[in-house]
């Protein structure tokens, strides 16, 4: 359901083909149609709306620059996912350490303020989301694509450039790790 926008375009392929041939109008429509999707994917990977805005801006410009190289035999949606994910990844690489540090610090400040209560919040979905965000990149991508974006294993494989089996493997590994990450020390005491 959440992925419907990404799947929507019957016209996407044609629009993209025309845009790649230099059709300004087609490109404008393509962007209009997909900006929110780009933003949504970016948000899911980045974890916050502000970062997603920045990524979406970068992706829009990237698309403008590279659409001429797009070829019709590839799926536009797959291509779009790749560009968004790569942009997110570039950005997160550059900021990875800073962010971890800031968060570690913020978490600590919160722990101090709240007297030992974790900073994860009570919403299990939020906790899960942030736990997924801390997984190794490939596992995170696989989980987000399949469970967040609602892609099939096959489609996710296309985006990630791996086989379907590898996607399943990454998800399996991710679950194993999530089980540990989601377990609170409080649970263990009881």
């Amino acid at each position: 359901m959440a992925a419907s926008a990404a799947h929507a375009g019957d016209g996407d392929q044609q629009l993209a083909a025309r845009a790649s041939a230099g059709d300004r109008h087609a490109f404008a429509r393509l962007m209009e149609r997909h900006y929110d999707t780009i933003h949504r994917i970016a948000w899911r990977w980045c974890g916050n709306a502000t970062d997603a805005d920045d990524v979406a801006q970068d992706v829009a410009i990237k698309l403008a620059r590279t659409i001429s190289g797009w070829r019709a035999e590839a799926s536009f949606t797959t291509w779009l996912y790749r560009i968004v994910l790569n942009t997110v990844r570039d950005r997160q690489r550059a900021f990875a350490s800073e962010r971890r540090r800031v968060e570690a610090f913020a978490v600590q400040a919160m722990v101090e303020a709240q007297g030992g209560e974790g900073a994860d919040g009570d919403d299990p979905a939020m906790r899960l989301w942030s736990a997924v965000g801390s997984l190794p990149e490939r596992q995170r991508d696989a989980v987000m694509l399949v469970h967040g974006e609602g892609l099939s294993h096959d489609e996710a494989a296309g985006v990630m450039g791996v086989s379907e089996g590898t996607v399943s493997f990454h998800i399996h590994e991710a679950k194993k790790k999530l089980r540990v990450l989601m377990k609170t020390p409080e649970d263990e005491l009881s």
């Binding site: 933003h39 997603a52 550059a94 800073e98 570690a104 610090f105 974790g118």
Partner: protein
């Protein structure tokens, strides 16, 4: 098996609306770029020189745009804390691109050419990968490089040109995802893979027979670097190198509140307890907990701190110099008008950035710290000399005189060897100037050298990988690291062969002393800081226990009666220390008798139980035989039951690390 979580709940979260204004800007910019792109597509095919110039200009404008639009700094709380030196950032981008002239594609459409992909994470270079040269902007290149970085380099079927081009970035292409995924800057993964942290390997303490070797001597150790290195490894999804795990540093990472003596006659209290070993029903643990008194803030001595800061090129990474600058601010808050600070940098040539300055002159100090720019190679020896010169200049009699070395360990000591450096530090130590070492970053962190330096300089070595760690090391423990209450603290334990057959000291391998050095006041040992606690644990095998490893001696009987004083004590503990400004040591002694035997683990204090869990964890990471059958779960259970108040969450973090190790060990 049911999970505690439902992955599909990820789907149910409602995405936020894009910022409308940013959306408009983005779409407008995109259209403008689209138009530009059409125009210049006619003039493609220029050479590399032109391309580089174009890119330089482009980089500049992109950086400026990014800065002015606040894009570099937006997002989370990063804005407040991020310090990317602009010049460094630009140099980085240009350098990075220059190093990879070949990786210009004809556009990302190869991403989707499915037919060349084979299974798993290996992808052969897509057909037609080497296109006509054309002007490509940095962004696309980065995109492609990132995509490529996810796949291993294809073996044979590349055209020779491609092979050469790919070689310009070999480790980028081959780097495992785990490393790449965490790389703070895109340059670092390749460095990391080639250069490993240098860690000194050592043998785990073995089991000693009391008859043959009744006396055990070691220096206390308050270093914690090993804990942060271990945590970093686990967080990155790998078990730490067993050699990098120093069990006593893991144990002493946590602060324990052991009881203090009633009077301040001695600077610290010594608490001993005996209990069954959790991982072996047939042995016992002797737990020694030393607790130092707090120096009262009003009576604490003045501090003369000289910061020796590595600003070599290798420090130009977010988790190094920028983190250091932030950590420095934290420390500054703890100092007052009694204290002076000086700053020396080293890289290329050593220079004084700040002459001794009162800690209250915050502006001056912060200005100096903010002005530090990374660059050049490291010339450590000259820097250390300069730092000691300043320390002597600002010497506070009866105060704390300390050089604080901050480096990523990429320490080029010129012609001099590690040994010469060590000698120099020892000499200065005798002048009353101590040395603390703070390690930053990873990849080429020289743990071994840092340990040697700190141990010989009467100092501590800590590894700082996060601001939270800086907070812990520099601020919470400022008292303990900066203000020693006792120095050269040595422990000697003599076991009673009548009751104890064998013993094993857990950890402290790198701190072992010769028995005769115990009474030699010229032999250096570890310090105890204000409010610090130190823990040492022996595993002992009582006489007659089925766990005894050594066969009884055929001719041992006579000897045994000779040494047996008819006592039922387990052992006799002796401890030597000097007060910070003294050269002669004091002796403390405590018999360890059966009355100290608590009978069960539960009879121990919470802190003692937690330290034992950490000891088990460290030994398991070191793959120590004794704990082979003791499960990660058991460790976690023991620790979870001894978390106590844990106001800063360090012990909860430990529980999570045990969980991660458990998963990774499968």
């Amino acid at each position: 098996m049911t999970d505690e979580f439902n992955l599909d709940s990820l789907k149910t979260m409602t995405p936020p609306q894009p910022d409308a204004r940013k959306r408009d800007i983005a779409l407008r910019e995109a259209m403008a770029v689209f138009d530009d792109e059409k125009k210049c597509s006619a003039t493609q095919g220029s050479g590399f020189g032109v391309r580089l110039m174009a890119k330089l200009q482009w980089s500049w404008s992109k950086t400026m745009t990014a800065l002015t639009k606040g894009r570099l700094m937006s997002g989370t709380a990063i804005a407040g804390i991020l310090a990317v030196p602009l010049a460094g950032y630009l140099a980085f981008m240009v350098m990075n691109d220059g190093a990879r002239p070949g990786l210009m594609g004809s556009g990302p459409m190869q991403f989707a050419s499915d037919e060349t992909r084979n299974s798993d994470d290996i992808i052969a270079a897509p057909k037609g990968y080497l296109p006509e040269p054309r002007v490509v902007r940095e962004a696309e290149e980065r995109d492609q490089a990132t995509a490529l970085a996810d796949y291993a380099a294809p073996p044979a079927p590349l055209p020779s040109g491609a092979a050469q081009r790919l070689r310009s970035e070999p480790s980028m292409l081959g780097a495992p995802q785990a490393l790449v995924g965490d790389g703070s800057m895109r340059l670092s993964p390749s460095v990391e893979r080639l250069v490993r942290d240098r860690v000194e390997a050592f043998e785990t303490n073995g089991i000693r027979s009391v008859l043959q070797d009744p006396v055990s001597t070691f220096s206390i150790d308050v270093d914690t670097a090993s804990y942060a290195l271990m945590r970093r490894a686990l967080m990155e999804g790998r078990l730490p190198d067993p050699d990098s795990v120093r069990v006593e540093e893991l144990i002493n990472y946590f602060s324990y509140a052991y009881p203090l003596p009633a009077t301040r006659e001695t600077p610290f209290g010594v608490n001993v307890a005996v209990a069954p070993t959790p991982w072996n029903a047939d042995t016992k643990l002797v737990h020694i907990g030393i607790q130092g008194f707090d120096v009262e803030p009003e009576t604490r001595p003045a501090a003369n701190l000289v910061f020796l800061i590595d600003v070599s090129g290798s420090m130009d990474q977010p988790d190094k110099l920028p983190l250091l600058k932030n950590a420095f601010r934290l420390l500054l808050d703890r100092l007052d008008e009694r204290d002076t600070i000086s700053i020396v940098t080293y890289a290329g040539n050593a220079g004084t950035v700040l002459e001794p300055t009162k800690a209250t002159e915050r502006e001056t100090i912060l200005e100096a710290i903010d002005g530090l720019e990374p660059g050049g190679s490291t010339a450590g020896a000259a820097g250390i000399e300069e730092a000691y010169r300043l320390a002597r200049k600002g010497m506070v009699e009866g105060g704390v005189n300390r050089v604080m070395l901050a480096t990523d360990g990429d320490f080029n000591v010129g012609a001099s060897s590690d040994d010469e450096l060590k000698r120099m530090i020892e000499e200065r130590r005798d002048d009353g100037i101590f040395l603390s070492v703070f390690g930053f970053g990873k990849g080429n962190y020289n743990d071994q050298l840092m340990q040697v330096l700190a141990q010989n300089g009467n100092g501590t070595a800590a590894y700082i990988d996060t601001l939270a760690e800086a907070q812990k090391t520099l601020v919470e423990e400022a008292g303990s690291t900066l203000f020693p209450i006792a120095k050269d603290v040595k422990i000697q334990v003599e076991f009673n062969p009548a009751t104890v057959a064998e013993y094993r000291l857990i950890g402290y391998e790198t701190r072992a002393l010769r028995n005769e050095d115990f009474n030699n006041d010229r032999v250096d040992a570890g310090d105890i800081g204000s409010g610090h606690s130190v823990t040492a644990i022996y595993e002992i095998t009582p006489v007659g226990s089925p766990a005894v490893m050594n066969d009884p001696l055929r001719y041992g009987e006579a000897q045994e009666t000779a040494t047996d004083g008819g006592s039922d004590e387990y052992a006799f503990l002796k401890l030597r220390y000097k007060l910070p400004d003294e050269t002669d040591s004091h002796l403390m002694t405590t018999p360890i008798g059966p009355e100290l035997d608590r009978g069960s683990i539960a009879g121990l204090s919470t802190d003692a139980r937690f330290s034992i869990a950490v000891a088990a964890f460290g030994q398991k990471l070191r793959e120590t035989d004794a704990v082979a059958d003791y499960s990660w779960d058991a460790i976690r259970e023991l620790a979870a039951g001894a978390r106590g108040e844990d106001p800063f969450g360090y012990r909860s973090e430990f529980l999570r690390l045990v969980g991660l190790a458990d998963v990774l060990d499968r």
